[in-house]
């Protein structure tokens, strides 16, 4: 239990560092990719608590009202669940496109929602911002695909050493 707590705290600190570093370097967010990668792979309760803490930390360091990142995440996640009722979000080209759209929407909402909550008006959103958001969405979707494939390959390699008894 103590070890798990230490692991979670260390992971949160590392993720804060990595997210801030990537935001400054490439204006790119890694936490959402990591969440979707771990989603349905890790027990939801284990995943949710550190993720909520992480999003609250991002609110504080970026001087957003507490809950802003969480709200954006829940909106995008809700939309993802809604789409999953009609389309597959696990595999295939449609899943990839849904993920691209999902990530792009996440970046677009991050541009307008904080401004809406702080000043009461939507922030300025140009076509260039939307295009860049879509570009980041494509990169994020590819990264998620790569992580999923790496994970699947790792699992296959792990199970190949086992003797199956039918």
């Amino acid at each position: 239990m103590v070890l798990t707590a230490i692991l979670i705290i260390t992971s949160i600190i590392l993720l804060v560092f990595l997210e801030s570093f990537l935001l400054a370097f490439l204006n790119f967010r890694i936490s959402i990719i990591l969440f979707l990668f771990l989603f349905r792979k890790v027990e939801w309760k284990t995943l949710l608590f550190p993720f909520v803490v992480l999003l609250l930390i991002f609110d504080v360091v970026k001087n957003f009202p507490l809950g802003t990142n969480l709200l954006v995440f829940s909106l995008v996640f809700g939309l993802l669940l809604l789409v999953s009722l009609f389309l597959s979000i696990d595999s295939g080209i449609t899943a990839f496109l849904v993920r691209v759209f999902h990530f792009a929407l996440y970046y677009v909402l991050l541009l307008v929602v904080p401004s809406l909550l702080i000043e009461g008006t939507f922030g300025y959103l140009s076509l260039r911002d939307v295009l860049i958001s879509f570009l980041k969405g494509i990169v994020s979707a590819f990264l998620l695909l790569f992580l999923d494939n790496a994970y699947a390959r790792l699992r296959r390699r792990g199970s190949s050493s086992l003797i199956s008894i039918k």
């Binding site: 560092f17 801030s20 909520v52 009202p65 802003t68 996640f77 669940l81 909550l117």
Partner: protein, 278 residues
Amino acid sequence: MKGRKQQRKFSSDYLILLITFVLSILFLLLDTIGSLAFLRRGISFVADPIDYNANSLGTEVKDFLGIFVDLKNFKDEYNQMSIDIYEKDVENSFYTILREENDALKKQITLGDQKQEYVMAKVLGDEKSEFLRINKGEKDGIVAGDVVLLGNMYVGNVVVVDSKGSLVRTPFNRATSLEVVVVSGSIERVRTKESVDILSKGVIKGSSGGIIIENMSMNSNLTNDDIVVVNDSRVGEYLVLGRLQDISENPAATSRSGYVEPIIDYEKLITVFVRVDF
């Protein structure tokens, strides 16, 4: 069994959505009324240094890699700066020539004979210092034999004239032979002909070793750096040629000889004046 698992997975998904949405609204409401200030301060205390360091590192890496991205811009900027420098050099050369011309005109007005008429010309090139090519010719009223000078200093004589240019023979040329006088005193006094002591007469000739002066009197009290002034009917007025150097000291000789070091640096000569109405 599988269906039940699937149902549980979906229900946990919606639970995540519900919890995050409710929590976000709750946090937003509580933060608006300032109830979460303690939480904000606590998180800020721990996370701000991490964020600051990561942000600085990210910015540094971005700036460093940005150099490679901007290499083309740097190259373009370098090329533009090179062009600017060349343009400045050209402009500077223009002003340098203008200044030299101004100095030459000043010299001409101060030291030259104001009663004469002159044509200002530019030196285009020289051939082993024996000849100078100038950019004024027949169209400007120059004829063969005209004297080329700068202020009160002798430069040479025009020997060949075409419509737009002329060839000037300098004292270094082997064909040059002029009568001169050696005087003591300053160049300015020579020009105004004020109480200069004529030490000796002589003749100058051009040679590969320099300008030779011969036939100077054995009895004259000549010293190095005495001034050699052209005093020839083909030149028509007293014009300074240079300073006396390397005077011969042979007591058995009937006359003394030496070399003349010209006052004018022929290699750097740009502007000269041709006397046209003599």
